[in-house]
């Protein structure tokens, strides 16, 4: 008895596209794009980067084994968290089952990775089992180091006036509630912070400040609220033009900027935060070289600030099991904290069978979903080249994008790359990256999530 032919949306799309493409391309052209192999490829992490690579490699490789190590059942659209924390989106809008994106033929191991033995090409899992690989794609994302702020824990988000958009989707929703509570109190002081390390979506701390300012202004009682922004360095954003713009806009909107301070401790009950002066020489860039040990200096002057609301941005790094592996950078600005890859080829600098993609890599910018969109085709092309013993054909330009929300309802579509001191790389010639616009906001609000899912499916 024949089973009925049931196609899900993705399969239907593939069939439709396949029919369209096959009508104009000879079969040999299609099959030439696939590589016959017996290799075992392990992808660590099923976030934006890992899932995009799983789909891309599943489409390009025939005969090999692809294993995706990802413990979570739910996929989170993290670029939407700032909108959730700003009260614009419902949290449910950012979640979909991972099963929707895992391609057929990929072995999905629902387990945490515990360690990487790069010399023996092995990955140990939390359940005690081991995966051997021929090629490894490290897409493990980022670790939130809330513990480096004394007294802080992600469980505090939403209580005692503490918000943190990064904590989780629940944390983003609770951040919105904390801001709402502060607004309803009718007055008080809000402190927004930044981290002294590279962070994912480096614009998020600024966006949270801008959207909260929008809400304060809409309340009609802006003058009753004080807003401070505490920055660990002299800068607020890595792209120079945007950095100056944000500083100027903060000044115009009555935000008190204080530079060279990092959040070092918090007392939730007293609603007090301790900031440590990290010195006038400290220059916050996204490749800032601040190590865990340096967080614990006792001889630095500190200031205690009262707050009614505080937005906490934790220090971030690669996950501990990556930091403890031989794959971590051994020298340079990313040493001990981030994956050691060539930022153009995405290949590991010492282990040629290993590639990195996404937030985990040591790169001066590039911890965004937009970066993954640009990196994924590079990793795909270069990994296949390594598998065939060919020179690496593709190079990543450092492209990244930040729809810089400057208020609820307007944004700037900021796109830039490594070259020329992070020069703009606009995708759309008709959208000025230096102009606040409704169209850029609409892209953030309506179009980037569909584009993100297309990236996950390896289609964009």
């Amino acid at each position: 008895m024949h089973k009925p032919l049931l196609l899900n949306r993705r399969e239907l799309l593939k069939v439709a596209t396949g029919l369209g493409v096959s009508s104009v391309l000879p079969l040999s052209a299609v099959s030439a794009n696939t590589l016959q192999t017996q290799a075992h490829i392990v992808i660590l992490g099923g976030g934006a980067a890992g899932m995009a690579m799983a789909n891309r490699l599943a489409a390009r490789l025939k005969g090999g084994t692809i294993t995706l190590v990802e413990p979570r059942e739910t996929h989170h659209y993290q670029p939407g968290w700032t909108l959730v924390a700003s009260g614009v989106w419902n949290a449910n809008k950012t979640m979909r089952p991972n099963a929707q994106f895992v391609p057929r033929g990929v072995m999905w191991v629902r387990e945490y990775a515990a360690s990487i033995d790069a010399d023996n090409k092995q990955v140990a899992l939390a359940n005690g089992s081991t995966l051997e690989y021929d090629y490894l794609v490290v897409a493990t994302g980022i670790q939130l180091n809330y513990h480096l702020i004394d007294g802080m824990s992600p469980s505090l988000v939403g209580q005692h006036g503490i918000g943190s958009v990064y904590a989780s989707i629940e944390g983003a929703a609770r951040t919105n509630q904390a801001i709402e509570t502060w607004l309803n109190s009718g007055q008080g002081k809000g402190i927004f912070t930044a981290a002294p390390t590279p962070v994912k979506c480096a614009g998020a701390p600024l966006k949270m400040t801008f959207t909260t300012l929008s809400r304060l202004e809409a309340s009609g009682r802006r003058d009753a609220f004080d807003v401070d922004f505490m920055a660990p360095g002299a800068g607020l954003f890595s792209q120079p033009w945007v950095n100056e713009f944000v500083k100027q806009r903060f000044d115009e909107q009555g935000v008190n900027r204080r530079h060279h301070y990092r959040l070092s401790a918090i007392d939730p009950q007293a609603k007090q935060a301790e900031f440590t002066f990290v010195g006038p020489e400290s220059e916050f860039t996204s490749h800032h070289e601040l190590r865990e040990a340096e967080f614990r200096r006792d001889d630095q002057p500190t200031v205690i600030a009262d707050y009614d609301f505080i937005h906490v941005v934790p220090p971030m790094s690669a996950h501990d099991f990556v930091k403890q592996s031989a794959l971590i950078a051994q020298e340079g600005p990313f040493r001990g904290e981030w994956l050691d890859v060539d930022i153009h080829t995405m290949q590991h600098n010492r282990y040629p069978e290993v590639f990195g993609i996404g937030d985990v890599i040591g790169a001066p910018i590039n911890k965004t979903a937009a970066s993954v969109k640009a990196q994924a085709p590079v990793v795909e092309a270069n990994l296949l080249a390594v598998m065939q013993g060919n020179p690496l054909p593709a190079r990543h330009t450092g492209y990244t994008s930040c729809p810089m929300i400057t208020g609820i309802g307007k944004a700037m579509l900021v796109e830039f790359g490594y070259e020329d001191n992070f020069a703009f790389m606009p995708s759309f010639p008709f959208i000025d990256p230096t102009a606040e616009s409704w169209a850029a906001w609409v892209m953030k609000d309506r179009m980037l999530q569909p584009a993100y899912y297309a990236v996950l499916e390896g289609q964009a």
């Binding site: 799309l13 593939k14 309802g409 008709f430 409704w438 609000d445 179009m447 999530q449 964009a460």
Partner: protein, 114 residues
């Protein structure tokens, strides 16, 4: 970007509004079918009221389209913003006319019968 990539993005973007699109298509097709069965012809029927109403509805898009995108008209600032919003208003006008034109015929036909 590939054709399949563009299709994927469009499908994800439209998915939340699938019910609205289907409902709209059903209404438009139903109205046109009913009107055609009663002798309606697009090029022959003239209705100033339908035209004016469609223009008014199109103009309302200048307010509700920004609102629908969690924004406001005051943030429509750049040339591209205005082109996009005017495009949305024109599209709204066309959709309104496609609905109101046969509807006006059906109403006038009924008034004539009575």
């Amino acid at each position: 970007m590939t054709i399949s990539g563009i299709l994927t993005i469009i499908m994800y973007a439209l998915a939340p509004f699938a019910w609205l699109i289907v409902a709209g298509v059903v209404i438009v097709v139903g109205l046109h079918l009913l009107a055609y069965l009663r002798g309606y012809q697009v090029t022959r029927h003239r209705s100033l009221v339908a035209l004016l109403l469609a223009v008014l509805i199109g103009l309302t898009a200048l307010v509700w389209v920004p609102w629908f995108t969690n924004s406001t008209l005051s943030y429509v600032a750049t040339v591209f913003d205005w082109l996009a919003l005017i495009g949305a208003a024109i599209a709204t006008f066309v959709v309104a006319l496609v609905v109101l034109h046969p509807l006006s015929y059906l109403i006038s036909d009924r008034l004539t019968d009575s």
